[in-house]
């Protein structure tokens, strides 16, 4: 019986001593953590995609709590809603950012851009790009092995095997930018998202001279400059034989689409165009 008593007493003394030591240690080495970090983290989508530029949601939450204004910080996955709740937790003002969406600037599918050779090395874009110019005559275009598809954490890119160029599904894309990093040809751009997924884009990155570009791909931008002239909003610039439409300046007027001689500028999400007046007349006259 006494053995039990001794045991209990000894353990109780050890326990009490340890508790006292731990109490003082905890006091001495206390790390203060802003409780708002947890709160902010909870309001984030927990995708840990890195789209904000930080190493995961926790790091982003820490940065938000430290920040004095949220102008530079944005969670592309959560969008405006999430940023507003973050702002309300921190008592700051939410800065509204236009939502963005990724777009692959190449329209060189197999029917537009014939293959001139076959690559039988490891089928990833990174290795193909490091080895040589690619299976088609265009050294700037999409390689189609889908490094972007593998990089996407949100299943937002459809490889479209056999088509030659993957497709980004706008409704799933959160503009985290993982695909932008993954593309060795630098084709993917995060563009401003317009209602109904509308966009007007130069779907080409070919910097070769017009003739060379056209020879390799029938929908290549030849840098003719017609679109630049017709644009009323200074949204189009031409550099290295290649047109670029700034999505922040573009008003979706689609004038450039109709003047582009190679159909390198494409419109997405618009209803089919009405037949022009004179064409209508001529067709009714027949």
């Amino acid at each position: 019986m006494s053995i039990i008593l001794y045991t209990v007493a000894t353990l109780a003394i050890i326990g009490a001593t340890a508790a006292i030591i731990l109490y003082f240690v905890a006091q001495k080495f206390k790390v203060f953590e802003d409780p708002r970090i947890d709160e902010v983290e909870e309001s984030l989508p927990s995708a840990n995609c890195g789209g904000c530029g930080f190493a995961g949601c926790r790091a982003f939450a820490e940065a938000c709590v430290k920040a004095t204004d949220l102008g530079e910080l944005n969670c592309p996955v959560g969008g405006a809603e999430t940023m507003e709740s973050v702002a309300s937790i921190l008592g700051l003002e939410a800065v509204k950012k236009a939502p963005r969406v990724a777009f692959i600037r190449c329209n060189g599918t197999c029917d537009h851009r014939p293959k001139t050779n076959a690559f039988d090395g490891a089928s990833t874009c990174a290795i193909s790009a490091a080895s040589y110019g690619g299976e088609t005559g265009c050294e700037y275009g999409c390689l189609g092995y889908g490094d972007c598809v593998a990089a996407c954490e949100f299943d937002a890119i459809d490889l479209r095997a056999g088509m030659g160029v993957p497709l980004i599904l706008d409704d799933k894309c959160v503009a985290c930018g993982a695909c932008v990093e993954a593309c060795p040809k630098n084709l993917i751009e995060l563009r401003k998202m317009y209602p109904k997924g509308r966009k007007v884009v130069v779907a080409c990155r070919n910097e070769a001279k017009g003739g060379v570009a056209r020879k390799s791909c029938e929908v290549a931008c030849i840098g003719c400059g017609k679109c630049e002239k017709v644009c009323n909003f200074d949204a189009i610039t031409i550099e290295n034989n290649l047109a670029f439409i700034d999505s922040d300046k573009c008003k979706l007027c689609r004038k450039c689409v109709s003047v582009c001689p190679t159909h390198a500028i494409i419109e997405v999400g618009f209803p089919p165009r009405k037949i022009k007046e004179e064409e209508k007349e001529s067709s009714t006259a027949k």
């Binding site: 001139t116 050779n117 039988d120 090395g121 490891a122 490091a130 080895s131 110019g133 070769a208």
Partner: protein, 442 residues
Amino acid sequence: MLKTFNLGGVHPPENKLSADKKIENLPLPKTVFIPVAQHIGAPASPVVKRGDEVKVGQVIAQSSGFVSTNIHSSVSGKVKKVDVSADSSGYSKQGIFIDVAGDEWLEEIDRTEELVKEFNLDGSEIVKKIQEAGIVGLGGATFPTHVKLVPPKGMKAEVLLLNGVECEPYLTSDHRLMLEKADEIMVGIQLLMKSLQVNKAVIGIENNKPDAIQLLTEKAKNYQGVSVVALKVQYPQGGEKQLINAVTGKEVPSGALPIAVGAVVSNVGTAFAVYEAVQKNKPLFERVVTVTGKGVSKPSNFRVRVGTATSELVEAAGGLPENTGKVISGGPMMGRAIPSLDVPVTKGTSGILLMQEEESKRGEVLNCIRCARCVSVCPMGLEPYLLMTLGEKNIFDRAEDERVMDCIECGSCSFTCPSHRPLLDYIRYGKGKVGQIIRSRK
């Protein structure tokens, strides 16, 4: 026992189909495209413009730094344009297009076949002439030769090694050159020895070229300090570090240059180019190219002007065989498949190999079975299966620790893999990325 390097290596079928074919001059092309980046280092900058008349041997692009070389016109005629065009990589590179008219050489070039043995230049004058003549390593790496001849401070070369190994299957350009220009090569070696201030030179030749070994051993008797050593046939013996190990038994430390063990390695083709540059005032604008392949009707060795389109060589060797699967610039092990026959011959083109469909195809990629054959054949003592995985998973810091930068890209691992895994593809990719990381640290 014949000497060879002590680690790894493979022995692919030799297929030296053109070994007994004399070097012929390829007829002059109608136009040439001469890229300005034909060497390791900074591309040369063009000094001619559209409409300029050029002569054979004239400088058309000037070296733009120490690790860079001059580019000379290989033909005479009119500059058509200075523009970009696809080179063997399929990427557009700057170069000079020339329409050929006649064959007018610069007057100072000695076009006779006569052997000029005597020279009374000192070392630095020889290096200067080599630099001006735009000579690069003709074994395929195209490293500017004059850079090699000026060892870094505090280091001294003790021996000059001549690479007559030609370990790549199919290729015979060095072999033919050794047989036909033995004396010239010997004088070239003397010049290189003088410029490096060494009194010993060893020519390493693989045992599958007994005629070359015999001839050069005979010739070497007349030249002081030169000897020939026969080596066992083993790929990649032509690799700088492998050759040093095979001939001297020394091992170049990881990350160091051959000069660290007192050796400088040069190709026999380079020695011949040095002879021509110094004794004949002829800059490097043509080279010997083997055109070969199992289906080729006339496997040949051609003396080709730089800038000639590959299609002309193929035509001269009897045309493109019907079942050609790949056209490879270089040998089957380290060469690269070219995407188009318009690609020009450059200073580094040692051969054009027309591979038949069935031998060119890679096998189906299967899982790694951990047989470690890649480890046992790696001449640098690396673990290729591991480096491949690290490349696949983008773990570059670990790849650097595993010495990925030591890889000489010989392809022995991919060659030997029973699961046909694209080992070298991923290793080369990892090497590129690690190289970028190392450069960004500086």
